[in-house]
Amino acid sequence: MKMEIVKDYKNDNFHKDEIRKSWFDATLLRIFILATCFKMLLIPTYHSTDFEVHRNWLAITFSLPIKEWYLSNKSQWTLDYPPFFAWFEYFLSQVAVYFDPEMLKIDNLNYTSPNAKLFQRATVMIADIILVYGVIKIGETFCKSRSSYLILSFLSIFNVGLLIVDHIHFQYNGFLLGILLLSITKVAEVDKESSILQGAVWFSMLLNLKHIYIYVAPAYVIWLLRWYCIKGGKFFSRILKLGSIVLIVLILSFGPFVSQLPQVFSRLFPFKRGLVHAYWAANAWALYTGADKFLSVLWKQLGWLQATRTASMTGGLVQEDIFTVLPTPTPIVTFVVTFASMIPALWSLFTKNEAKITPKHFVRCLILCGLSSFMFGWHVHEKAILTAILPLCTLAVVDKQDARVFIILSSAGHTGLLPLLYPTELTPLKLLLSLVYMMLAGIILTHKFHNSLLKKYEWLYVGILPFVTFYESVLHKLIFTDRLPFLPLAFTSMYCAIGVTYCWLLYYYMYLGDRFQNDITMYKKKEENIIKSKKKHYK
């Protein structure tokens, strides 16, 4: 009986023919080309040191033998991504020779030429095709109508966070997130064993491209363990299959470096960095550090603090911080807090009633894992919020409550990213980028669900965000000139942290209590179906 219901649900929701008429989708192609046009216009904009980081990796993988990839320390930007990413850079470098061989010389530190910039920017744009593919696939699985499918593609492909981080600041998050979406799609189809295994392959490959995604791995583990291994009754053969997949991918990745594993791992997990980044990511630790700052000022006024223990936290590059009043968290503590904050979500996913479980729960659990790690992780980068925002975008077109959280989270998260673009001449660009995306997301989703999604105080919070950016980049300099240089950044990250924390709590609350609109109506339908079928049975 229960199996039938699950199938019933599937038939209700999966109208692939309606969503995409053929393999060629003109509208999607248009969205992609339009996005690429915007990215092309951004080619000459400012790029961060990450540009040099990736150029240096191109040089390392091109001109050094494999054994030395993780040993080279000519540049301060050593290779600190897992081996698959190194291979990715290796393949790029084979093409880069034809553009500018100078950029591949390991001694050419801080080298930028127009061709090098064009090439590197172009690789990010082309790699984004994988993002588009991932969006297409996840849209086909989760969207019920063509309009929501298009909205999803529009909001994901034009995601301002990705534009800022990948196409201005310079990184390769787009295609990594594409792989994440792809693996979610595959893993969500619990009934098909081949698809589950493919999903596992994709996810383990993703982990070997950038290990930051290990934070969402618990959701995968629980989902696969409970709804794939335990459910079917073939526990041991299934867990063996999964285990061997992960192991094979790991061997493929780390095999060539087996003799220098400690060296590789010391590069991948540098625990010498501080709790918060030079610019605080908008998470719980930003609030914590802010509170400490505030208390230290208060303590000083009251005369409770020795003058020797004053520490600056915003000055340097990457450094360890000292807290003046509150206890200083250690990596272990942050790890424990992160994991503890994930447990309720994981437990709920594990113990859900079989009739109620849908792939959406898995995605929600994954989003919560991403958010929890962002909230409490050690040395979190502000970009990590994208790991939560993009999967959430998928659900935002399906459910009203998800859309509500999406609007707040994306607005706050993206505003938290803006201080990355610190040069003055980028001020109008970053203001317009965040403003336009906020308005578009608001308009599109409100139009889709036919009524206002946010509560009044939530609109108020979101509406103030652009002014925070305006203050951070323009107003502060006008009012204070050079005094209090830490204030605008600290204020931005704390204001955004409030939004992110609110989203985390709200989403957790809705997730644990199953307070999503569609699900509620779906249960009712299911119950009606059960009653109907029972009646038929009796007749």
Partner: protein, 542 residues
């Protein structure tokens, strides 16, 4: 009672909501178009890092320096402090006043920007930011609101039930689509925010003037047009149709009495004279100052054309070297006569039948006539034609779309020279794709395959025959676009032979010129067609 009150409240609230969403939609569009402009500003400007003369960017900066540091009397005069050979002011006083205002701001921001003499060729990131921002400001207070005003007065047929279909993710109305596609016209964005100029200011005044005239506010309209004219003298391209439209609407016996006509005309001329007088007051001090300005504005000595322009003289020059046969004064006379011949028919036609649609097309014809035949034409002057074409877009989409793309293409050599090739490709592609997405019937041929659902094969043959004209036009359009794509690619990929270093710019200008001549004939034909089907009485009620 209470229920009535409730209904009233609900209605008022829903109306408020509708207005709210309309405002937000407009804000979104403005945000998007500003974002697009903003993205272009990070590309290089004309003459970036190219001493000793630099480019238009340096010209604008130099004007700020001159107007800020010299008394008004010497602005247009060659002195030791004001070497007119080095980017002397050659636009009317309003441009100079604008430069003065910017000069003040620049002086407050960083006085190095506008130091007399020492600041020549000043370049820095912060200065670029300042200059770019000044164009963004100028555009957002002139051109963008003017276009919004124009669009909001348009009567475009609105579909009754707007379903949530492919393109309508944003719940946009037709007006919104028209506004958006007009405001992302690549030519103006590339020239103003890439190459660097303030065309948006004069064009904004011009659009506002046309809108005011279309709404029968003749005095306000003529005031705005005088502002446009005093910002850039090239607005003279539009002067004739505006003059004849006002005059034609005030011929006694059509729909007005003699008295009201005379009063209106008197008011209009008074406005024009007064506005002119106020703007020119500082230059009336003595005869020499005044004449200096006039000579700066109309430089006969600079030759019939500079660089490669897509007009008739440049095209003729390929075969027959005009400049060897005739001197500048003779050429100027020939140009003048040819221009007058080209422009008069449409102006006369407008005078006899001053209809609104005719007015807009006549603006196209006049400016295109000037562009093709007049003396001293810049490739950027095509913008003066492109703006009335934008205003005409809703009447005749495909030819206008076609023209707009060709006009952007005709400026390609200039853009390549400025290092704006990537921006050109990106923004033209963006414009073409979003316009064809928003107006799907723009350049699509209804194929017989699609017709299968609607009618049988016999009918489809008739249909295709009836539509063979459309078929031919769309085919030609695609062919022409293919040509522009091929030429755009050849320009950067292939090195021209050593004997003809200017081969590609020349090819581009001849190719565009051919298009412009055909467009000139077509739009003239169009203008004469309008109003033929209406008898005189209907015009009166119009």
């Amino acid at each position: 009672m209470t229920s009535e009150y409730k209904i009233k409240r609900i209605i008022s609230r829903s109306r408020y909501c509708a207005n709210m969403t309309a405002t937000i939609r407009i804000l979104v569009i403005m945000g998007i178009v500003l974002l697009l402009r903003c993205c272009v500003t990070y590309h290089p400007y004309s003459g970036q890092g190219k001493p000793p003369m630099f480019g238009d960017y340096e010209a604008q900066r130099h004007w700020q320096e001159i107007t800020l540091n010299l008394p008004i009397k010497w602005w247009y005069t060659n002195t030791t402090d004001n070497d007119l050979q080095y980017w002397g002011l050659d636009y009317p006083p309003l441009t100079a006043y604008h430069s003065l205002l910017l000069g003040y701001i620049a002086n407050v921001t960083n006085s190095d920007f506008v130091q007399l003499r020492t600041s020549r060729g000043y370049e820095s990131e912060s200065h670029k930011y300042f200059m770019r921002l000044s164009v963004l400001w100028a555009e957002s207070i002139t051109y963008l609101p003017a276009m919004l005003w124009f669009i909001s007065g348009l009567k475009i047929q609105e579909l009754k039930a707007i379903q949530l279909d492919e393109k309508n993710l944003f719940d946009f109305r037709k007006h919104d689509f028209h506004l958006a596609t007009i405001l992302i016209y690549p030519g103006l964005i590339l020239i103003d925010h890439g190459h660097f100029q303030y065309n948006c200011a004069s064009l904004g005044f011009f659009v506002a003037a046309v809108t005011a005239l279309l709404r029968n506010r003749l005095i306000f309209g003529s005031f705005l047009f005088v502002l446009a004219l005093n910002y850039k003298q090239m607005e003279l391209y539009h002067a004739l149709p505006i003059f004849f439209y006002i005059l034609g609407n005030n011929v006694p016996g059509r729909n007005k009495t003699l008295k009201s006509c005379i009063i209106t005309l008197f008011c209009v001329s008074l406005t024009v004279l007064l506005t002119f007088a106020i703007i020119w007051v500082p230059f009336f001090q003595d005869r020499e100052t005044f004449l200096n300005v006039i000579f700066r504005l109309f430089p006969i000595a600079r030759g019939v054309f500079e660089d490669k322009v897509a007009n008739v003289w440049c095209a003729i020059n390929v075969i027959y070297k005009l400049r060897n046969a005739l001197n500048n004064a003779q050429l100027a006379q020939i140009c003048g006569a040819a221009t007058l011949l080209a422009v008069l028919p449409s102006s006369m036609n407008l005078f006899f039948r001053p209809l609104r649609n005719k007015f807009i097309i006549s603006l196209v014809n006049s400016s295109l006539g000037f562009f093709l035949f007049s003396f001293q034409v810049h490739e950027k002057s095509i913008l003066l034609v492109a703006i009335p074409i934008l205003l005409n877009f809703h009447n005749d989409p495909l030819p206008c779309f076609w023209f707009l793309l060709i006009s952007t293409f005709s400026m390609l050599p200039l853009l390549i020279n400025d290092g704006l090739y990537i921006a050109y490709i990106a923004i033209t592609l963006l414009y073409a794709i979003s316009t064809t997405w928003v107006f799907p019937n723009l350049c699509r041929i209804t194929t017989s395959v699609e017709l299968k659902d609607e009618c049988d094969k016999k009918l489809s043959v008739i249909y295709v025959c009836k539509n063979y004209r459309q078929f031919a036009v769309v085919g030609l359009f695609r062919l022409s676009m293919l040509g522009t794509v091929v030429l755009s690619m050849l320009c950067v990929l292939v090195k021209p032979p050593k004997r003809y270093p200017d081969l590609f710019p020349l090819l581009i200008s001849v190719y565009s010129c051919g298009h412009f001549i055909i467009f000139f004939l077509y739009f003239n034909y169009k203008q004469f067609c309008i109003g033929k089907q209406y008898p005189m009485e209907k015009i009166k009620s119009n």
